[in-house]
Each structure stands twice: as structure tokens, then as C-alpha cells.
Amino acid sequence: MNRLLLIRYGEIALKGGNRPFFEKRLLRNIQDSLWGLRPFEVTFRRGRYYVKISDDNLFAAQQRLQKVFGVVSISPVFEAELNIEDIYSEAYKLLEANYTPGMSFKVNTRRSNKNFPNTSPEVNSNTGAYLLDRGLDLKVDVHNPNIVINIDIREKGAYLYSQTIPGPGGMPVGVTGKGLLLLSGGIDSPVAGWMASKRGIEMEALHFHSPPFTGEGAINKVMDLCKVLSAYSGNITLHLAPFTEIQKQIRQNCPEPMLITLMRRIMFRVAERLALQRKISALFTGESLGQVASQTLENLVAINDVTSIPILRPLISFDKEEIINISRKINAFDISIRPFEDCCTLFVPRHPVTRPTIEELQKAEEKIPVEELVKDCLENIETRTIKSRE
């Protein structure tokens, strides 16, 4: 049997002339999210999306739609023809699906199709009477019912539903442009990526690794994180950048207290170049002010000194606890805490006291062939696509 899901969106209704663009993109994202659940049919009418899908796949579809940004809420609906008898019988099906003996209910009709012969109060009371007459153990309670049977009478038919499941909100992925996420494998960066997607950013990700010292486990971890994110943001292009040679050069030629900052300055240079190549307009990071010694204001300034592309930091004023909560919510946490060495641990600075001035950093960088290292790193990037559905 085919069932119908009703999808409502919020914020994009406010957009003026761009509205069709937003709506089209959300339509596409909804269709993409249902990959593999064929046959289904998505239609758009009067500010709402309707997904017609088989009964077996209804629950799976519902769960996937809860991860599509732009969706505000979802209701499984029963569809009735525009006549009162059909409305009765669909209302009965809806009630039956949620029935427990002794339950109370209420009918709530909205008639936006004024051609329908019965008024809303009439539909309410007639449907209520019909249901009470079915021999079930039921009572009407208009103030505090166990279930509300909503009947939405529109141009093409009547839609009946009782459940409204919240969606993730936000903007449809793809409407605000492309971003490059610096993805470490820790807890913060996947959350930053999720937040960027929430505002409609389409994501590519960049991960620095230090082969052979960081193993396959570390790469699999990053790929698994991309997989989790891709349920929200669609397919993710992941770039794996080799960092070993850069670390060796810095380690051997530069003063120890600056190691981390120097390393990060090169990472951001690589990221900026990659973004330009890929026509990406901003970088996203999981930095949170003061969380670790390398995320002080001085350090952000040191990064700005070598980049001009906008660097957006959605977590900048989040506490660790708040970040962990989101990480758990999106099921990234258990992956993030897998114990693999990432490229930073190669350095193991015993005392990351890091307050070097810009001049000192620039001077230290004179000792290594920065331009060459960045170029080499870029040339040796390995790119993989992480598909949201396989």
C-alpha cells in the first residue's frame, strides 16, 4: 500500500524572488535522501512537499527526512478524496492505527478549499460522530485529547494526520555555496561541518595525515565521520593531504615552541589554495576560542597573517560540553573518540607554550621552503568521494 508523507519547510518561505531556487534545491535534496527506497514520488504543491512511498519504506523515509536541512516537520498522512465519506473512512484508518481502548480524541479541520461543501465545524462534528459510532472504546476530549485528527482540506484532496515529527530546520544544503571543512578526526570539526551544512553549505573536506606514521585506522575514521555527515549534507568530497614531509622540515629546522603554530600556518595555506582550485569560497574549522593552546586569539591572528580567504568558525564560542552534545546527537561522537594517532601527535611537543609574534613566525619560516612544501602537498592530495548512500 502506498502512504504519503507531508513535509513542511519554514525559513525558505520568507525568501523573496529566490524562493523557487530554494524550493527546487530542497526538492532535489529530498529526492536524493530517499535514494534506494524506490518506488517513491515527490511532489510540490502550495508550499508543501508530498512523498508518496510504500508502506514498508515509510519509517525509513521518515528517518532520512529528519536529516534533510530545510525540513521543519514531517507528518505521515492519509489521503482522502474530496468527499465526506472518503474523509470518514480515512479518519477511521488513522484512528485505528493509533488506537488504544479508552483513548480520547478530537478532530481539527482546516478547510483552505472553500469549494468543499461542508464547513470546518461540520466536518469536525460529523467525523467525530462517525468515529464514535464504530463500536470502539472512545471518547471526545477537545481540551486534552490523546490524539488530534487533523483534516486538511485542500485543492486536490484532503489530508489527514495526527503526528508531527520535527525536522532539522536550517537551509537546504547547496543554497548558500560551497565550503571546505578542515576535518581532523576529533570531536569539534565534524560538528562544525554539520553546522555549516545546516546553513545550506555544500561540503568538501580536507584531512591532513602523516603516512606512514598515521595508519589506515586514522583514514577510516575520517571516512566514517564523512559518512555520518553525508547523511545531512549529501555526498562529500574528501581530500587527504600528506603532511609528513612538512612536519619533518619544521621539526628539524624551526624552534620547538613554534611547531604547532607553524604547522597550522602551512595547513591553512594548503587549504586556501585547494579552496581556490575547487572554486570554494570559504574555509570552515572546528576551532573554539581558548579550548587548547593553539586556539588562542593570537593563534587565529597568526593564521590570518597567511590567508585571505574567509575562515568561518561556527563553534568559536561554544563550550566543549555543548559541542559534545551535538556530536552525540548526530552520531559522530563514538567515531570521534576512536583512539588513533592523528598527524599532530607526531610532534609531541612537551610544552606547547605558544605566544610567538608574527615576526618570529615569519623568521622561522625562512628556514624552510614553504612555497615548495605547500605545492608538493597540494600535488599529492588524494581525493575520495564519500557517498551518503551506497
Binding site: P212, F213, T214, P339, F340, L346
Partner: protein
């Protein structure tokens, strides 16, 4: 000869003998019956159980009704420890074990502490060996169980189980003695009767058998409470349809492994000598952890490279198809320093830089030469990288 790989992580698991693989596949293909079935296929299965049980009983020099099959070392240890403690709770609530046991022993004791038992954890000497006198001193009139491993899985120290047993029973004849022999069975000669062992745990995949199957020896007259409840298999101690392919594979692997036990031990001893002397000659700053070279088991040893990180060494060696381990792979999902190395009093640098090597009689001299030369060059490179003064 070209070296394809050097697998020296045999304490994590071993590669099954080809004969074992074909025997298991034959059993799955031809003799797939449920041993409890009354028809021909059933009796074939029962015969596999009987002959396999006899093979293991013969190796241990015990009666075949004293051998039960489990899902592996963890289950054998859990069943022995939890089963004895819970069954004998009226006799006393004190238990004794060591601080360097496998986590399947330590976690079982942690559970018993939650159930109201008191546990004494014996701390080994610097060489990883328990002083039998200390074990005896820990005994009280309320002690019901002492559990001590034979060969330690991380450092290869050998516990004097016969002496310990004799001294324990002299002081308190009622005390029950369990030995975790997962790393020693088929390598060392074990005779529960002569050595005064009441329960002995074994695991097939540590001696070139399959994963997911193990054995527990339970001396006649020792009663324990099962962990699972069901159809009365394995004297009601381990209900569940028997894993006949695994059990057949285990028996065959035990037979093959014990056939040339002495030669195998001598071979592993000489391979071990070769590898240790090559590494320590080249890198005198590295340290052998736990027992002296001549005191330890011939197949397991542990070397620290203080200042380096074990995981980074591991991945660097992986590049050359040399497979080793940092602490024990059994608790690798929790990134914490090895409890065994900490119990020996090693500092943080030494525990972080520890590598466990574990050999099999299937390793060769050529493999050791190749491994030694690669290990030495990798360590030299990393030491240089980390500016370790050697």
C-alpha cells in the same frame, strides 16, 4: 628469498594452519549436523565433539569429562572466575588475582567487586613475576579463589604456577586455583593434575586454530555456576548448540602445535634472541621490559623506545609489512597506557614507546633478519626526527 610479510603479533592472534581451515570447511560442508539431533547427521556431530574432547584431554593428561568447550579465552576466564565465586559465595568472599592479568580476568573481578566480593591484586616484581610468598600471604580463611595467568600476554613473564599452587594448598587446601593459560597452552607443557590447577583457560586462535572457540578445563568435583542458561549442553555449564567446525579445528590445531613442542620452543627462543640482540645492540637506549631475556617466554617480549610513540612505530613498520603491536590489542579501543607496564613501574615515556613482539614457530630466521634491519632503520629515523640523543 623475498619476504612477503613478517607477522610477529602472534599473541593477538595467529594465522590458522591450512589443515585446520580445510578440516573446518569439510565439517561445515559434510558433517554439519547438530550433535543433539538423533539422526545420522547428529551422531556425526557428536563424534566430532567426543574425539575433539579426547584430543584436548590427552594433551592435558586429564579425563575427557573435565574438558568443556567455550567461545574462547574471554568466556573461559569469565566462566571460571564468575562461576566459582558465585557458586562458593557461602564459603567466603575473598578472591586473589594479579595486577597484570588479561582484561577478561580483571574485568570479571571488577564485576565481582560490585557483587560484594573483596579482591586482592598481587603486584609483580620488576621482572613481571609474582613472588609466591606474596600470594600465600594474601590468603585468608575466607579466600575461595586464586586466579593467576601462566604467561603474560604483554611482556612474556612466566608465573611459577606449580610452586604457587603447592604453597597455596598447603596453607588453605580448600582454595580453588584458576590459571589463564591462553598464551602458554600448546607451547609449555601443562599438566593440571601435577601442577595443582583446578581450572585452566585456553583459546584456539592463539595456537593457529580458529577464532571464537576455546576450552576450559574443570577438575572433577569442582562446581561452578553457569553464565548462560539453555539446553544443557556441556554439562549445563555452557549451553548452546556446539560450534563443531570450530571445535574440530581447535583440536587439530592443538594436535599439530604440540606434536613438535620442544623443537618449536627452541626455534622461537633462537628467533627471539636474534631479534632482541640486534635491536638492543643497534639502539642501546631501548629497554627490554619485564623479565630478563632468558627468564621470559620464548615467544613474547616487549621493548620500549622511550621518547617515541608506539603507535607511530607500529605504522612505520606496517609500511614494510611487519606487523607488531603496542600494548595488548585486546583493549586497544581504550587509549590508555598498558596496565601491565604500569604495574611494572615504568614511566610514561617508556609505556608510550612500548612495542610488543610475539613470535610463532612458523616465523623464520630470514624474517627475523629482515624485521631487525627494518626495525633498526625505522627507529633510527624516528629517533632523529624526535631529536632523541642516543
Amino acid at each position: 628469498m623475498r619476504i612477503k610479510e613478517v607477522y610477529i603479533d602472534n599473541s593477538a592472534t595467529t594465522r590458522p594452519y591450512p589443515e585446520v581451515i580445510s578440516e573446518m570447511s569439510r565439517v561445515m560442508d559434510e558433517e554439519y549436523g547438530n550433535p543433539s539431533s538423533l539422526h545420522r547427521r547428529g551422531s556425526e556431530g557428536e563424534r566430532i565433539l567426543n574425539t575433539s574432547r579426547q584430543v584436548l584431554a590427552d594433551i592435558l593428561g586429564v579425563k575427557n569429562n573435565e574438558v568443556i568447550f567455550t567461545s574462547g579465552g574471554t568466556e573461559s576466564n569469565n566462566l571460571a572466575i564468575l562461576g566459582i565465586a558465585r557458586r562458593n559465595r557461602r564459603r567466603g568472599n575473598h578472591l586473589v588475582t594479579t595486577a597484570i592479568e588479561h582484561s577478561s580476568v580483571l574485568q570479571a573481578f571488577n564485576q565481582l567487586e560490585k557483587e560484594g566480593f573483596e579482591v586482592t591484586y598481587l603486584v609483580p616484581e620488576k621482572n613481571g613475576v609474582i613472588d609466591p610468598q606474596k600470594a600465600v600471604e594474601a590468603l585468608t580463611s575466607r579466600t575461595i579463589l586464586v586466579s593467576i595467568m601462566h604467561v603474560n600476554n604483554e611482556i612474556g613473564s612466566i608465573q611459577p604456577i606449580s610452586r604457587i599452587s603447592k604453597m597455596l594448598k598447603a596453607k588453605n587446601p580448600a582454595v580453588i586455583f584458576h590459571v589463564d593459560a591462553v598464551q602458554s597452552f600448546t607451547k609449555f607443557s601443562l599438566s593440571p593434575q601435577q601442577q595443582g590447577i583446578d581450572l585452566l583457560s585456553m583459546s584456539a586462535h592463539k595456537f593457529h586454530g580458529p577464532k571464537g572457540v576455546g576450552t576450559l578445563y574443570i577438575k572433577d568435583g569442582i562446581h561452578l555456576e553457569p553464565l548462560n542458561w539453555g539446553g544443557g549442553h556441556e554439562k549445563g555449564l555452557r549451553p548452546g548448540t556446539e560450534n563443531t567446525p570450530g571445535i574440530a579445528g581447535m583440536a587439530l590445531a592443538a594436535k599439530i602445535s604440540t606434536a613438535d613442542r620442544r623443537e618449536n620452543m627452541e626455534k622461537m627462543n633462537s628467533l627471539k634472541e636474534k631479534l632482541i640482540s640486534s635491536i638492543l645492540t643497534e639502539h642501546p637506549w631501548a629497554q627490554l621490559n619485564g623479565p630478563l631475556e632468558e627468564e621470559g617466554a620464548p615467544h613474547i617480549f616487549n621493548i620500549s623506545f622511550p621518547g617515541l610513540k608506539g603507535e607511530i612505530i607500529l605504522h612505520a613498520l606496517e609500511e614494510y609489512f611487519i606487523y607488531v603491536s603496542t600494548g595488548s590489542s585486546c583493549h586497544s579501543s581504550a587509549k590508555e597506557p598498558s596496565h601491565v607496564l604500569r604495574a611494572l613501574g615504568l614511566n610514561e615515556e617508556a609505556t608510550e614507546g612500548a612495542i610488543r613482539f610475539s613470535l610463532s614457530h612458523l616465523n623464520t630466521e630470514e624474517e627475523m633478519d629482515y624485521a631487525a634491519s627494518k626495525i633498526n632503520s625505522v627507529i633510527a629515523e624516528l629517533a632523529n626526527f624526535h631529536k632523541i640523543t642516543t
